[in-house]
Amino acid sequence: MLFLRYYFWIAPHLFLGVLVAGFLRRGLQRQLPIFFAYTVFTLIQFLTLFTVSLFATSSLNSYRWVLVCGMGVDSFFQFAVIYELTSELLLSRSSLAAPLRTVLRWVAAVLLLAVAVASGALSQISVERVMNVLQAVDFSSSVIRCALLIVLFLFTRALQISWRSHTAGIALGFGILASIELTGTGLRGAFGSSGYIAVDLLRMSGFHVCVVIWLVYLFLPDRTPAFTGRGLPEADLALWDQELRRMVQR
């Protein structure tokens, strides 16, 4: 079990290091600067926590403080990355920016309200089950991230917007991570302190899956949509042209 815990703690961060190198080699940090900053931050956070756990074994408080501050910044970064993905896919299209911004603003406002109420309910179950405020924040952030990503996927599917490979991979990875973290919050609430290790393993494995997905999408050849055929036949074009002539004459 101890090996598994160390594996899930260290391995995803090693893969993340490979991802950062891949990003730098392809110059993708210019295209997705916030995501790049997030990955660098996650690596720094891991190195700090690892060092603290090795050299300050007597001071559990220092470890907790680094973890608490790191989780706060991590949540902020994850929201910023979702905004970056939305901007890359939808907001950069001027015709969609205004209506989509309104939809996302409403979704975020409703979710914020819902999770505020839900967090309250969660903390009332028992003080032992919910360690501290941070878990409530973690729960809220997972719900909002899940919902925003689902809205983003639905929107792009409804409008038939195609994704570039690595953008799709980042969104998919974040979506899986957020949903696993949400499930983990529920499991922690259900099993209490006896299930902490199992839940932590679940969350770490979620992050592992997420990083592997990012790597696969980064290193697989870009799947540009493959089209065959000539498109609009000339006879059809003539019909569209007739329609246009009628409009011009009107």
């Binding site: 969609l96 309910a121 990503l149």
Partner: protein, 177 residues
């Protein structure tokens, strides 16, 4: 215990949804001829007539309230069908436009980009228009006619022809523009 169970179920549902939705994004592309064959012609004038407020006023003045409600419902149902058809065409044109965007000629690429943007705008309008027309069916007094659909469809038609002229110059349709 119930609340954590709800969170667990919600998390699992979200996971399945994200996997399904995320997986579908790799399936763009396809046969352009098949796509083009799925385009359905639309009589924009007939659609304009269906959503014309003056026409509705004329009918309201000449028919009994019961008859008017029934006729209005029929007209709105027909208009919804037109909007759905226009939205379907816009989805197909988005993909045809995306294929044309890969053309090395910058003029074709630019025209395709405009077509894609306009087709996306039309689909967005269609999402807003359909519920509004259903509301209008229930409450005929409310004026919720989606004129912008017809206008956007007109613009999209112009862009299809422009793109077609650029891709098939032999057709010689530029005179119409």
């Amino acid at each position: 215990m119930i609340f954590p169970a709800v969170i667990i179920v919600a998390g699992l549902i979200a996971l399945v949804l994200i996997l399904r939705l995320g997986n579908g994004h790799g399936r763009s592309g396809g046969n352009l001829d098949e796509l083009a064959a799925r385009l359905r012609p639309i009589d924009v004038d007939a659609f304009r007539n269906l959503i014309d407020e003056r026409e509705a006023e004329y009918l309201r003045a000449r028919l009994s309230p019961k008859e008017f409600r029934s006729i209005h419902r029929e007209r709105m149902l027909a208009a919804v069908e037109y909007v759905r058809c226009a939205s379907q065409n816009a989805a197909i044109l988005t993909r045809l436009g995306e294929a044309a965007r890969q053309n090395p000629d910058p003029a074709v690429g630019g025209a395709a980009e405009k077509l894609v943007n306009n087709a996306l705008r039309l689909r967005l309008y269609a999402f807003q228009a359909v519920p509004r027309m259903y509301v209008s069916m229930l409450f005929p007094a409310t004026c919720l006619a989606p004129h912008f659909i017809a206008e956007t469809y007109d613009t999209m038609t112009r862009q299809v022809v422009t793109l077609g002229c650029l891709q098939h110059p032999a057709q010689g349709m530029s005179g119409a523009l």
